[in-house]
C-alpha cells in the first residue's frame, strides 16, 4: 500500500535527499498488527485534578507503566494531559509545560491525549481556558514526529473522566487503531454506554450492517468489525453481488444485494432482516459515490445520483429501520461516512460536498432521535485514503492531496474502519452527533 514516493524516501539515498531539500518525510504509521499493546508505555499522566488521579489509577489497574512526571525517562510512549478543571488560561501552562522538555523523548508512534471540557456556556475566564486547549492541541499535532499523534477528549460538564465514553475515547486515541487521526477532538456528551468487557473482541455478540461493503473502505470496515467479533450483514448493489458473496464467505457474513436508492429499499432491507431473524446493533452507512465536475459543468445526471446515494439513502434506510421497531438492537449505533470535503468543501465537488455536509448535520439530528432508543449516531470524515478511487486521480493532484496533512501520507481504508469500529462499540454510547475526522490532520477546514 506504500506509495512510490514514500518507498523512495525510506531508502537511504532517498532519505538523505529529502532531508537536504526539505521534502516531506512521512513516517511509517504503526497500526494494530504493528503495535498490539493498547497503551504505548511508559505513559505519563499530567495534571493535578482528581480526574488526573482517576485516569492514572485506571491505567495502572490495567497494567500500564504509568508515571506522573517525565524525570529520568529517556523515552515516552504516551502522554495524557488532564485539564478537566482548568478555570483560567493561566492554568494551562503549569500543567502542560513539562511536556515541552519531553517532546524529543517521544517514541515513534507516540500518543498525546488531552482531556478537557468544551467551552460551552462556562464563565468567560473558564471558557477562554477551555477554548485555549483546542489551539494548543491542534498546534501540537502539527509538531508531532515519527508518526505520533495528538488528540483531545472533550467532556461535557457533568461527565466524569471515567465515564464509559470518556475512557473509550481515551483508549481509542492511545491505541494504534487511531494511527491516521491527529489534531482532532471527540466530545463525550453523556455518561451513556457501557464499558467493553471483552477487550480483544469489543464487538462480540453485536450484529453490524455495512452498506457499500463489496470493496474499498466498505470491505475494510466489514473486515475490521468482524475481526472485533461482530456478526456482519454486508450490503451492496446487485451488480457487485459476486464480490459481496466472496466477502460474505470470508467473514461468514450475511450478504444482502440491494440498491439503497431503489424504491422501497428501506422496506426491503427490513424484510430481509426479519426473514433472517437479525437485529442490528450497529449500522454503518458507507455506500457512497463521486461524480466530480465543476459547477459550471454540473448536470442532474451527475448531481442527483450523488445526493441519492450519499445522503438520501441514509435518511430512508435509517427511517425504515427505526420505524420497523424490531430490527434494531438495544443500544443501536449508527455511523455514517462523511468526508473532509463536506467540512472544507472541494473544487469540483459541489455535489459530493453537499451530500457529505448533509451527512454531518444528519447524524447530529439522528443522534437526538436515537436517544430514546438508547442509541446514538456519529460520522467519520475520511481525508485522503489510499483506495481504488483515489488511485484514479491525476498523479500530481493525488500527490498534493496525499501530502497535505500532518502525517504527510494517505491513510488506509483500515484507518477509517478502526474509527467506525470504535464508534460502533458499547463504550461509544456517550458520543453523539460527532463527526470524527480520519485525515492525518488534513490542512483543510478545522
Amino acid at each position: 500500500m506504500t506509495d512510490a514516493y514514500t518507498r523512495f524516501i525510506r531508502s537511504a539515498p532517498g532519505g538523505a535527499l529529502a532531508k537536504q531539500l526539505g521534502l516531506p518525510r512521512p513516517s511509517r504509521l504503526l497500526r494494530r498488527e504493528d503495535r498490539p499493546e493498547p497503551v504505548l508505555g511508559p505513559v505519563v499522566v499530567l495534571g493535578a485534578s482528581a480526574g488526573a488521579d482517576q485516569i492514572a489509577h485506571q491505567l495502572l489497574e490495567e497494567g500500564a507503566d504509568v508515571r506522573r512526571r517525565f524525570e529520568e525517562l529517556r523515552r515516552v510512549g504516551s502522554v495524557i494531559v488532564v485539564l478537566d478543571e482548568i478555570a483560567s488560561p493561566a492554568e494551562i501552562g503549569p500543567i502542560m509545560l513539562p511536556l515541552a522538555g519531553a517532546m524529543r523523548t517521544l517514541a515513534p508512534g507516540a500518543r498525546v491525549v488531552t482531556i478537557s471540557r468544551p467551552a460551552g456556556d462556562a464563565e468567560p475566564s473558564r471558557a477562554a481556558a477551555r477554548g485555549g486547549v483546542e489551539g494548543f492541541l491542534r498546534s501540537l499535532a502539527h509538531e508531532m514526529r515519527g508518526g505520533g499523534t495528538a488528540n483531545g477528549v472533550l467532556l461535557e460538564d457533568g461527565v466524569a473522566v471515567d465515564a464509559p465514553g470518556a475512557i473509550g475515547a481515551l483508549r481509542f486515541f492511545l491505541s494504534a487503531r487511531s494511527a491516521f487521526i491527529t489534531g482532532q477532538f471527540l466530545t463525550v456528551s453523556s455518561e451513556a454506554g457501557s464499558a467493553t468487557e471483552n477487550r480483544s473482541l469489543p464487538l462480540a455478540g453485536r450484529t453490524a450492517l455495512v452498506t457499500g461493503a463489496a470493496r474499498g473502505i466498505g470491505a475494510a470496515i466489514a473486515r475490521t468489525l468482524a475481526a472485533d467479533g461482530a456478526k456482519l450483514v454486508v450490503l451492496d448493489v446487485p451488480g457487485a453481488g459476486t464480490e459481496l458473496s466472496r466477502l460474505a464467505n470470508e467473514l461468514h457474513a450475511v450478504p444482502i444485494q440491494l440498491d439503497v436508492t431503489s424504491q422501497g429499499a428501506g422496506e426491503r432491507l427490513v424484510s430481509s432482516l426479519r426473514e433472517k431473524g437479525l437485529a442490528l446493533d450497529a449500522v454503518v452507512l458507507n455506500a457512497g459515490i463521486t461524480r466530480d465536475k465543476l459547477l459550471a459543468n454540473m448536470t442532474p445526471e451527475r448531481w442527483d445520483p450523488v445526493l441519492a446515494v450519499n445522503i438520501s439513502s441514509q435518511i430512508t434506510l435509517t427511517e425504515a429501520l427505526i420505524e420497523a421497531g424490531d430490527v434494531l438492537g438495544e443500544q443501536p449505533r449508527v455511523v455514517s461516512l462523511a468526508s473532509t470535503s463536506g467540512i472544507a468543501g472541494n473544487r469540483g465537488q459541489t455535489n459530493y460536498a453537499t451530500s457529505k455536509a448533509g451527512v454531518i448535520a444528519f447524524v447530529d439530528a439522528l443522534a437526538t432521535q436515537l436517544e430514546d432508543l438508547g442509541g446514538t449516531a456519529n460520522a467519520v470524515a475520511p481525508g485522503f485514503i489510499e483506495t481504488e478511487m483515489t488511485a484514479k486521480m491525476p498523479a500530481l493532484t493525488r500527490e498534493v492531496a496525499r501530502r497535505a496533512n500532518s502525517l504527510q501520507q494517505g491513510g488506509l481504508p483500515v484507518d477509517v474502519a478502526e474509527a467506525i469500529a470504535f464508534l460502533c462499540s458499547a463504550e461509544a454510547g456517550g458520543i453523539r452527533g460527532e463527526t470524527l475526522r480520519v485525515c492525518g490532520q488534513n490542512m483543510v477546514g478545522k
Binding site: V237, P238, G239, A240, G241, T242, L244, S245, R246, A248, N249, E250, H252, V254, P255, Q257, L258, R268, S272
Partner: protein
C-alpha cells in the same frame, strides 16, 4: 435408519445464478470454471454453507473444453465448500442442469446423500475450437515418432486446409441442419404465426422485467462483472420492434414458405451459470433452511427427428403426458408451467400439440387431446427468450424460479401448488420435471 425409510423427499432449498449475458458480451473471456465458481460462491454465501461437506455437487456444461473434464470439481474447489465434497460432471445438451437436479434428487430420495447442489454453466463466448481430425492424427503421429526423421515426415503431410480451426458444430450431426432450421420446419408444420411468436417473446421480456422490479430475483441472482440483470432483457420492447426484425431461421428450408423465426423470438447464444441447493428435510432443518419445493417426479423422452417423423424439439410433448399419467394429473391440474423458450415457437408448437386431437390420438396414443392451459400460468417470471439461454445453466434457472414461485404462492394461499418444468434438448431429446410446494 433402515431402507424402509426411503424413498424420502428431496427438497429444493434455494438457488443462485449469475445474470445471463449475451455471447461476446461482459463475460467474453471468462471461463466456464470462473462462472460456475461465481454461481456456487453466491449460493454458499446466501445459505451460509462455508465449510459444509455436501453429499454431491452435480454440474455440467454443453460447450466444454477438453481440459475441463473435472469442471464441476475444479469449480467447487474454488469455493469455501469443504474440499471433501464429491462432484460429478454430466451432460445432456440444454437439459443438463435439469438432469443434474434429477440426479441429486434421486440420490437424496434413496438416502445415498443428504444434501447436494445441482448446477450448470455454459459460455458461447469461450466455446472449444478444435483442429481438424486429419491434423489431430498427424500431430499424434508426430508426437509418437521415435526419430527426428519420422517426425519431419509426419509434419510434411500437413496441408494448408488442415490448419483451419474447427469451431463447435452449429447443427445436428445427423441432418446437418441447425436447431433453428429444424424448429422452423416444425413451426411451419404447426402453422404457428409470427404474431403469436412475437407476443410470447414480448411477454417473456415484460414478465422477467416485472419480476426483477418486484425484487423476485433478489435471492436468486447474484450480480457478476457489473451485471445485475440478464443482459438480454428488454422490458421496454414492443410488438412493433419485434415485428420489424428479419427472419433468421427457415430461410434455407424450401418447405418453410413464410419464415417467421427472428432473433427476437429465438434465444440468443448466451453465457452464464446457475445452481440449486437441495437437501433432505432433516438436513435443511438442522441448518435452519426453508424448503421451497419437493421433487415429485421426472421423465425424459426422445423423438425420431432424423427420419423426419417428428420435430427436433418435440420430445417434451411426449414426456409431459407420461409424467402427468404417472402422477394421476391432468394437464390443467398444474398451477405453474415453466416451458423452456428455446424459441417462442417451441413453446407454441408444444401447447398446440397438446390441444390437437389428432396429435394426442395418433402420436401419444391417447383417447383425446390433453387440452389447453391457462396462459396466465405460463412462464410467469419470464423465461429464456428474455433471460437468455446458456445451455447447461437453463435447467437450474427454471428449477430455482419455479420452486420460489410455488413456495410464495402456497404461503399466500395455504394451498399446495404444483408446477411443471419442460425442457427440450438437442438431438431430439427432452426432460420434464414435476415440483410441488412445501410450506412450514
Amino acid at each position: 435408519m433402515t431402507h424402509s425409510d426411503f424413498p424420502r423427499d428431496a427438497l429444493i432449498l434455494g438457488g443462485n445464478r449469475i445474470p445471463f449475458a449475451r455471447s461476446g458480451g461482459p463475460y467474453a473471456g471468462i471461463s466456464n470454471q470462473d462462472m460456475l465458481t461465481a454461481a456456487l460462491e453466491g449460493l454458499v454465501a446466501r445459505y451460509g454453507l462455508q465449510g459444509e461437506k455436501l453429499g454431491e455437487v452435480a454440474g455440467g456444461a454443453v460447450l466444454k473444453l477438453a481440459g475441463d473434464l473435472n469442471l464441476t470439481r475444479e469449480s467447487a474447489l474454488g469455493t469455501p465448500l469443504d474440499p471433501r465434497t464429491p462432484t460429478i460432471d454430466m451432460s445432456k445438451a440444454c437439459a443438463t442442469s435439469l438432469e443434474t437436479m434429477i440426479h441429486v434428487s434421486n440420490r437424496i430420495q434413496l438416502g445415498q446423500i443428504d444434501s447436494g447442489i445441482a448446477c450448470g454453466v455454459d459460455s458461447a463466448s469461450d466455446s472449444p475450437i478444435e483442429v481438424t481430425p486429419r491434423l489431430r492424427r498427424i500431430l499424434h503421429r508426430a508426437f509418437a515418432a521415435k526419430t527426428a526423421m519420422q517426425r519431419v515426415k509426419a509434419f510434411s503431410t500437413i496441408k494448408p486446409a488442415d490448419l483451419a480451426p474447427v469451431p463447435p458444430r452449429n447443427g445436428e450431426p445427423r441432418t446437418g441442419l441447425s436447431m433453428g432450421e429444424h424448429q422452423a420446419q416444425t413451426t411451419a408444420e404447426w402453422g404457428i404465426t409470427r404474431e403469436a411468436q412475437d407476443e410470447l417473446a414480448l411477454a417473456s421480456h415484460q414478465k422477467l422485467g416485472a419480476a426483477y422490479d418486484a425484487g423476485f430475483f433478489d435471492d436468486l441472482v447474484t450480480g457478476y462483472r457489473g451485471l445485475s440483470r440478464d443482459q438480454n432483457l428488454r422490458p421496454g420492447s414492443t410488438l412493433e420492434k419485434l415485428g420489424s426484425l428479419k427472419p433468421v431461421f427457415g430461410t434455407k428450408s424450401p418447405q418453410v414458405t413464410e419464415p417467421s423465426m427472428t432473433a427476437g423470438n429465438s434465444t440468443p447464444l448466451s453465457d452464464g451459470a446457475s445452481s440449486v441447493l437441495m437437501g433432505s428435510a432433516d438436513w435443511a432443518a438442522e441448518r435452519g433452511l426453508t424448503p421451497l419445493a419437493r421433487v415429485v417426479d421426472a421423465r425424459s423422452a426422445a423423438v425420431d427427428f432424423v427420419h423426419g417423423e417428428e420435430g427436433l424439439l418435440m420430445a417434451p410433448a411426449y414426456a409431459v403426458p407420461e409424467l402427468l399419467d404417472a402422477n394421476d394429473l391432468a394437464l390443467q391440474d398444474l398451477d405453474f408451467y415453466e416451458i423452456h423458450e428455446a424459441f417462442a415457437s417451441t413453446v407454441l408448437t408444444t401447447l398446440k400439440a397438446w390441444e390437437s386431437e389428432e396429435f394426442c390420438r395418433e402420436r401419444l396414443g391417447r383417447g383425446g387431446a390433453l387440452g389447453s392451459i391457462d396462459r396466465a400460468k405460463l412462464n410467469v417470471a419470464g423465461s429464456s427468450l428474455a433471460a437468455g439461454h446458456p445451455f447447461a445453466a437453463t435447467g437450474g434457472r427454471l428449477v430455482a424460479t419455479l420452486a420460489k414461485l410455488l413456495h410464495e404462492r402456497a404461503t399466500e394461499t395455504g394451498i399446495v401448488q404444483r408446477g411443471l418444468i419442460s425442457v427440450c434438448a438437442a438431438a431430439g431429446q427432452g426432460t420434464v420435471v414435476l415440483l410441488e410446494s412445501v410450506t412450514d
